[in-house]
Amino acid sequence: MKPSLFKKAETALHLLSIALGLYALYLVFMVVPNERVMGPVQRIFYFHVGAAMATYCSVGLIFLSALLHFATRNRFWDTLSVAAAEVGLLFCAVVMATGMIWGHAAWNTWFRWEPRLVSFLVLMLILIGINLLRIFGDKGKVANHAAAFAILAAVNVPLVIWSIDLLPQSAQLHPKVVQDQGLKDPSFVKAMLFGMLAMVSLQFSLVFVRTKVESVLRLKDSI
């Protein structure tokens, strides 16, 4: 790709994430009505679901870059993996924080033994592990080690997604909003979709920026 075209694509991505973010904020705070039972606190759901989608996308990127690293040995994939792991951890922390705020309002507790909550916490611990490995690993071997660890981490994601179906519903409290057709008002669906799009585009923007920073740092180290 030509440098000018690359720059244009980057600018377009950043502008898109800003526009989507602003529109999602407008929908969430100005358009969507208060939910009947939960009231205003339910609005955190639009950020929570979007951040969860962004986390899954990051883990997908980590997994893909790990596979491509082993297949091609191109250093770009390792650089991308560094960026995706850091951004993934950030969004995972957002999911946990927003989930806990919602949980405190809905269940009167910050955290409880619930499969989806625990498995997402485990995913966060795995992402912390990948980042720790990057910090404390041997510089010469960390690319292979992090890629191997990323593949192991990625196989846990299906468990996080399907954990809600593994136990009987009586054993868990995490809501199945979409499956149970809980989004009655059309504006709920629109806000959720744009919330997801905004978070995912923000995630790709951040990965883009972090990849560039990491490339520059590596170039500097090699001089």
Partner: protein, 225 residues
């Protein structure tokens, strides 16, 4: 097959001669079961409550003793670099992995059995009826744990933190295995017979197979390259 047996013989011989891992595992198992039993006795829990927390206590004891003893797995391979020699002699990385896996599985099984017997002895429990199914479930848990630990331990060797980083990397990945194992053991203790078609058994077996396959395929990339 001959090469695998030779590798296994080498690993077991080192273990029998040094007795490092097995002593650490058994020692930790006895220590953990004793400490946990003292805690449970001090809390004056009724026998039914003791039984209900047994799977968690067992798993915690198993995790601590296994994680500590696993750090010794590659000690000799990294001290004098005999791994390169092994590979030059015709042993494939997959065979080296399987040999290490089987040796670790054996030591961890002995350790876990000691922990289980330690709890039965110290807490005066009668679990004869569920002993066999419980051993089977712990066997499945050890399979997955050892498969993943055999791959993760060499990663920690090249880290500046070495043994300290091992639990941070290893334990989150073992979560599905531990979660499944504790759920099944709790059901067994509650008097529900073992159902081989339960989703928890599928989860355990699935992750065992998955971790084993990933371990075998990535071992050369982690250890040799």
């Amino acid at each position: 097959m001959k090469i695998l047996l030779a590798l296994l013989r080498k690993d077991l011989l080192i273990e029998f001669r040094t007795k490092e891992t097995i002593f650490v595992t058994i020692g930790m198992a006895i220590l953990m079961s004793a400490i946990a039993s003292v805690g449970v006795s001090a809390a004056l829990l009724p026998p039914a409550a003791v039984k209900s927390v047994l799977p968690v206590l067992l798993t915690l004891s198993f995790l601590l003793s296994s994680t500590i003893s696993m750090t010794r797995t590659y000690e000799y391979e990294y001290q004098d670099r005999p791994l390169q020699g092994l590979l030059m002699s015709g042993a494939t990385p997959q065979l080296v992995f399987v040999s290490k896996f089987l040796t670790n599985f054996l030591t961890m099984s002995v350790g876990t059995l000691t922990t289980l017997l330690g709890f039965v002895f110290f807490l005066n429990l009668s679990i004869a009826q569920i002993f066999l199914p419980m051993t089977f479930i712990f066997g499945l848990m050890i399979l997955g744990f050892v498969a993943i630990a055999t791959l993760i331990v060499p990663i920690t060797f090249s880290s500046r933190l070495r043994g300290v980083i091992l639990p941070l990397l290893l334990l989150p990945l073992t979560f599905p295995i531990l979660f499944g194992g504790i759920e099944i053991c709790s059901s067994l203790i509650a008097g529900i017979p073992l159902d081989l078609s339960s989703p928890w058994i599928s989860l355990l077996v699935g992750f065992d197979v998955l971790y084993m396959a990933i371990g075998m395929n990535l071992f050369d990339k982690v250890v040799i390259e």
